[in-house]
């Protein structure tokens, strides 16, 4: 998807992505969010 710039406390970023028709995802996609200073990536299911 994409890398945002730096987020300070209270700031948010909205990121969008589109999958093409060639890939049909069986179930909602799982999204991982990481940052340089995160110890481990966060994982969420896109509901």
């Amino acid at each position: 998807m994409r890398t945002t710039s730096l987020l300070f406390e209270g700031q948010s970023a909205a990121i969008t992505a589109e999958c093409g028709a060639a890939l049909v995802v069986d179930g909602p996609p799982r999204v991982e969010v990481d940052a340089f200073n995160l110890q481990a990536p966060l994982s969420v299911i896109a509901g």
Binding site: R2, L7, E9, S12, V25, D26, P29, E32
Partner: protein, 143 residues
């Protein structure tokens, strides 16, 4: 945030480029080493953010070795102090994601918010699809 300031500039027309200011930014008082600079350009009409850039800087400037410069390269004699980046703790991030399907295409929206109670910045936030669980071939692909 150690400090902030704002200035208002004259209007800029559509498809027009105007140099409105040359900013000289001094390091925040009491800071030694690495610090962040956030430049935000807002519309005076509604306050909407037009552009945002964040820089990580050092109170100690890079020192170029101009005596040994070549046509392709100028070596650095002394580097700025960016070690503060290594000492940043881990931020707390709140993440929500939603997926909608329209006409065979899937749109996924992810919102990441920094909710760190200690005010820790999050550097280089990146979102990606972890796993595409199964690829379903269309009937004509199997012929």
């Amino acid at each position: 945030m150690v400090g902030s300031s704002s200035r208002e500039f004259p209007p800029v027309g559509s498809d027009e480029t105007v140099a409105v200011a040359e900013l000289t930014v001094e390091p925040p008082g009491g800071v030694i080493g690495t610090y962040f600079l956030e430049l935000v350009l807002r519309s005076s009409a509604d306050g909407a953010v037009v552009s945002r850039n964040v820089y990580w800087l050092s109170t100690k400037a890079d020192l170029l070795d101009l005596e040994h410069t070549t046509r392709q390269y100028t070596p650095t004699a002394e580097s700025g102090d960016m070690r503060g980046l290594e000492r940043l703790g881990a931020p707390e991030l709140a993440v929500t994601a939603a997926c909608t399907r329209r006409s065979g295409r899937a749109h996924t929206s992810v919102t990441v918010r920094n909710v760190s109670p200690a005010g820790t910045p999050a550097l280089g936030v990146h979102a990606s699809f972890a796993v595409v669980q199964r690829v379903v071939r269309r009937p004509r692909d199997l012929e």
